[in-house]
Symmetry: C2
DNA sequence: CGCTTGGTTGACCATGTTCAATGTTAGTGG
DNA sequence: CCACTAACATTGAACATGGTCAACCAAGCG
């Protein structure tokens, strides 16, 4: 049954505050958004393709996957949502779902009406900007997924995904192990591989001493090695954060006939 | 040399108005944003990977590609930007570029300071929301690119991309032919194929009477056939538009053990 | 127990890559 | 107008990454 609480949204405030400056008053306003807590069982859709929705889902506990599918019904996961994510904040401006959202485990979430989120955004410009920024970080992740699916081989792809999840779960302190309650089949949907090849790929990562992936748990054996294997640079995940460490060494290769950027 | 004009931004207003309600006053405010017009030659970067930028680029004429690359320097295009697009509106909230932007042809664009865009967004909540929505439509396209690269074969992928571009160039009236000033190599970077295989794929589309792609031009021979071959449903491009026609027939396949969506 | 779900492995196959050669087109200068 | 060049398109043959099919194993749970 639904219940009304406020503190559920504190992690959301923390998330927003990690990349956007918010006053105490603004933080409180977010915390006080009316929300309805709900739980959904594993393998069930929170949002179905084509649904028109009137609320966003803040993940309190569990794991959800955003997905789309091709004509044969083969799924492609386009994002994982972990606790602390507002899984479809974008729906505030695009209420017509063009992707589905599925719970991968029993997932607890807080439902917040678009009406309330929109009202808050309209009355608080900086909250509005924070929402926008939060969405754009998700888009930056999505952009990496295109590169992943398009230009990286199975091992690199898998390593990259593991790195992404490690950073998202752990923040600055990369966890030695973290819970990733996901089957190899679901990993296949995310990496655009087949379950069989996911298995072989995980075996390779294991045998190279990079990481051990089990049913509910990822063990990072060699973080540097895993990052290297995954061509991973966390910059895109921290793009919104206050400058802590400067950008890494990754630079665009110069293209033929190109010395300077835009010239007026 | 730079010049100061206002009317350059009218197409941007039209774009925003196509999905978001804006008052006459709001439209005018956008038009009056100070902008600096510039031109950049083909194959040069407008924004380089890692750049910290302080302006957004509105494409007036030409074609630009957003890209990222893997460690071997192989490029993956993640978006095309055509006239009418604000190529990096997202940079207003994430000024640290994690992807590059390259002109594919000689491209004319208007540069608008983040400062001005942000100020406008802060003072006009509905403009802020329109910016956010515009960005989320781009994200919806990106999401489709993940599916494209991940779960569709070469022919389907290519057809899907052509459909996307046709709709974006033509709006509701699908053009029989449209200018796409792009080489097969650049198509390869967008579809995550090799130039050689792009060539073979285009040949297949041609031989099946679906579309003819030449150096600067796409000729759509059979729009329905092309859409079908590309598993294309334009809903995601129009997600923000006023309801004109209802969603197509595309529905999520029911997954095992799933009858109803979220239950509280 | 036995059933179900997920993990593991091997053999064979297919889509798309790689390599390499040749054709085509547009632009440039004599 | 033609020769020359450079970039792009086209084609074929060999190859590789990952997919498909199929069998078997392991763990959790009624």
């Amino acid at each position: 049954m639904a219940s009304f609480r406020h503190s559920d949204l504190q992690p959301f405030v923390d998330r927003l505050a990690s990349h956007s400056e918010l006053s105490a008053e603004e933080r409180q306003a977010i915390c006080q958004l009316p929300s309805r807590t709900a739980q959904i069982a594993a393998n069930r859709d929170v949002v179905r393709l084509g649904d028109r929705i009137d609320h966003a889902c803040f993940i309190i506990d569990g794991l959800a996957a955003r997905y789309d599918q091709n004509v044969d019904g083969e799924r492609q996961t386009t994002a994982f949502h972990i606790p602390g994510d507002m899984a479809d904040l974008h729906s505030v401006v695009l209420p017509h779902a063009t992707t589905g959202l599925q719970a991968l485990t029993t997932t607890t979430f807080a439902m917040i009406q678009h009406l309330d989120l929109r009202a808050l955004a309209r009355s608080h410009p900086r909250i509005s900007e924070a929402f926008w920024r939060e969405c754009m970080i998700d888009a930056a992740i999505l952009s990496q997924w295109v590169v992943n699916a398009g230009r990286r081989n199975a091992k690199t792809r898998m390593a990259h995904l593991l790195c992404e999840m490690a950073v998202r779960y752990g923040g600055n302190a990369i966890p030695k192990k973290f819970i990733l309650p996901i089957t190899q089949g679901q990993l296949a949907e995310a990496t655009a591989l087949t379950p069989v090849h996911v298995n072989r790929t995980l075996k390779a990562l294991r045998e190279e001493g990079l990481a051990i992936v089990r049913f509910r748990e990822v063990q990072v054996l060699d973080w540097n090695g895993l990052q290297e294997a995954g061509e991973f640079d966390s910059a895109y995940l921290n793009a919104g954060a206050r400058p802590r460490h400067d950008r890494g060494t990754r630079v665009a290769r110069p293209q033929p006939g190109q010395e300077s950027p835009a010239q007026a």
